[in-house]
Symmetry: C2
Subunit: 95 residues, 2 copies
């Protein structure tokens, strides 16, 4: 996950899957051309759920999954230890 | 996840991450050209960890992530109910 701020980036955290799906649907209903779903570590599974549900169930005629990128990121704990976590970006674009 | 049997497919389940990394390393040490890491549902996060650790830590000069594909699959419970789960295929290829 690169550090630059992406336009229409949705960071997957502890909320329910449908909360994030609603954000995706809202972004495209506002007329935007693309959004990026970003997640780290255990949230990656939820990110895939959000992308699949948003694209296949809610916006199947309108958007598609344009790119899926996985990577690693070094996070520093409060006690100075570095831990590597996996990251994922899913780019959804208007067809 | 398509139903065809892929050559050198590694299905991510309940074992530890390093167990699957060892399978990836062994496949490429035997001279194979590619392998596919496949996972469903909650195991998807672990699949990304396996791919990242295998490629970046163990085989950085030798292999690369060639493709990441996400999808959905309908699973039938014992009581006949259908549940949709997210799937992921990560293709790793020799450079």
């Amino acid at each position: 996950m690169s550090e630059e701020k992406k336009k229409n980036a949705i960071y997957i955290g502890k909320k329910g899957t449908m909360n994030y799906c609603l954000v995706v649907v809202t972004i495209f209903n506002k007329g935007e051309e693309e959004c990026t779903i970003r997640a780290r570590g255990r949230s990656i599974s939820k990110a895939v759920d959000v992308a699949e549900i948003s694209v296949r169930r809610f916006l199947p005629e309108i958007v598609e999954i344009a790119d899926v990128v996985i990577g690693s990121e070094d996070l520093q704990n409060d006690d100075g230890q570095t831990k590597t976590v996996s990251t994922m970006d899913i780019v959804i674009k208007r067809k």
